[in-house]
């Protein structure tokens, strides 16, 4: 029995991000007759299509392991190029939005920060992306940027046909985002990154969360509009990181009751490790047990319905859970089991 049992888990579908990478030579990237990479996808009319990748979306040395920023590729194609290329870029993103919605996303999280280094161009990209996909699904948008100006632009462009966008995120050094939220009837993610340093433990996460909640409430925002992100950091570099996050979630849930949303970028926890799907599934399960009712996750990769049915008595679950909670620091046991093929 979990603290939040019976409540729907709110998925902030994180996949429409210009940061997202697929590998050339992998199954997600095809080649055009001239050898240039292209992204295969099925559009809204169930037609198989190919989106050519603009050079600006390629990263790293040419070759089979070259990284392709696929969302960035679609945004660049959609915003520029000729009519046909632009239509392909738009169709690619709308198909992504529909897949996220079908997989159970409660919000579609849009992030264009890596499309360009130019702030004005980034603002234009957010405006374009909001308009391009907003009517592809009935799911409201989450606008995601480390820049308040980009969030403001997305907010301005949103028609709100599926509801007010969620703003991702406010932080102690980005309190102006709370003003946007209060002035526009939006929900808002409160990121527990500190003003001058990252929180080192559960207490600092809770203190940052509380300070943000106070600032939000002082601006007239309801607890129900707040999604506290207690900051998930990788256990690969800090064995305590997962436990600290979970402890902060438990503390905030106990302090504020069911009225407040508790979320997090839960897949960060498995950075630098193999078997990420298993680790993320188990960490989502642990977060829900601790009192989280939301996650900034990719529901296609980590389906909450599958997670609800995980076998918590299995060896794989225990090994993952031990690594995630610091009982198997640096994953000595986990990695041995992974290499022996025992986590499948």
């Amino acid at each position: 029995m979990t603290a939040m049992a019976g409540r729907p888990f709110i998925v902030i579908g994180e996949n429409i991000h210009a940061t997202r990478v697929v590998l050339r030579g992998g199954s997600r990237v095809a080649a055009l007759p001239d050898g240039r990479p292209a992204l295969p996808f099925t559009d809204e009319a169930a037609v198989e299509r190919l989106l050519p990748v603009p050079d600006a979306a390629l990263d790293g040395p040419d070759g089979p392991k070259q990284r392709v920023k696929h969302v960035k590729a679609a945004v660049i194609a959609g915003m520029g190029g000729d009519g046909a290329a632009a239509e392909l870029g738009r169709a690619y993103l709308r198909a992504m939005a529909r897949r996220q919605a079908a997989a159970g996303a409660s919000y579609l999280d849009l992030n264009v920060d890596e499309v360009t280094t130019d702030v004005e161009a980034r603002i234009a990209a957010m405006r374009w992306l909001v308009a391009a996909i907003e009517d592809a699904t009935d799911v409201p948008l989450a606008l995601d940027s480390s820049s308040a100006a980009v969030l403001g632009a997305g907010l301005d462009a949103a028609s709100r046909r599926a509801g007010a966008p969620l703003l991702n995120s406010a932080a102690l050094d980005r309190l102006d985002v709370l003003d946007f939220a209060a002035g526009n009837g939006c929900g808002v993610v409160l990121s527990a990154t500190g003003a001058g340093s990252m929180p080192a433990n559960a207490d600092e996460r809770v203190a940052n969360g509380r300070a943000l909640i106070d600032a939000a409430v002082a601006r007239g925002l309801d607890l129900a509009a707040l999604y506290v992100d207690s900051l998930v950091l990788p256990v690969a570099v800090d064995p305590e990181a997962g436990r600290s996050f979970l402890a902060a979630v438990r503390t905030l849930r106990a302090a504020f009751g069911a009225g407040l949303h508790l979320t997090g970028g839960l897949s960060n926890v498995s950075f630098g490790l193999p078997a990420r799907r298993l680790l993320n599934d188990v960490f989502i399960d642990l977060a829900i047990a601790a009192g989280a009712d939301s996650g900034i996750i990719d529901p296609l990769a980590n389906d909450p319905r599958r997670i609800a049915g995980l076998d918590r008595g299995s060896r794989a679950y225990r090994l993952a859970s031990d690594l995630l909670t610091g009982a198997d620091p640096y994953g000595g046991e986990f990695l041995v089991a992974f290499r022996a093929g025992e986590l499948a």
């Binding site: 920060d113 890596e114 280094t117 480390s146 500190g194 950091l233 630098g272 193999p274 640096y330």
Partner: protein, 210 residues
Amino acid sequence: MANLAALKEAVEVGDRASAVRITREAVDEGLDPRTILAAMTAAMEVIGTRFQNQEIYVPEMLISARAMKEATAVLEPVLVEAGIRPQHTAVIGTIKGDLHDIGKNLVAMMWKGANIEVIDLGTNVSPERFVEAAREHGAHLVGISALLTTTMVGMRDVVAAIRAADLGGIKVIIGGAPVTQDFADQIGADGYAPDAASAVEVAREALRAG
């Protein structure tokens, strides 16, 4: 006779106790400290390659680096006494406004593993502090890391400040998730490292270019 092959092996598997014990034996036997150190840097080179090939993962890179760090602490007094210092010094930090230091810490670790002396300036480092520290320590390398696109643009200011400060042939290496080779070229950085393991080779190439 201290077994340097076993020392290399101990660092590769992250066995701190053995790495320290063998290093102590080697020091007691009067082995050339440079030879002892070379066994460990060779191990870290293997670790870097395995990491790039996705044969090992971040925690394993970390425990190898820690084993080397503890063993190097045993070696340190001997190196100091013999007047042996790393050939190159680097200052490293995250860009102003950016508190994300995981990538920076991994690069610092791998540079240390390659016997580069690393002065870690921490997070949220201003262009002035990069310049001051580079001057104070006579650095050959400056490493700048950013996770956020909003802060990444500040790397241009660091490069400009370094160039304006007349610090000789100092090389600037940049990295972090949103950083690309294109961006490095645009701002006039000397190198772009897509990950911690490749940061070693990128640094060596930049230093070789002189």
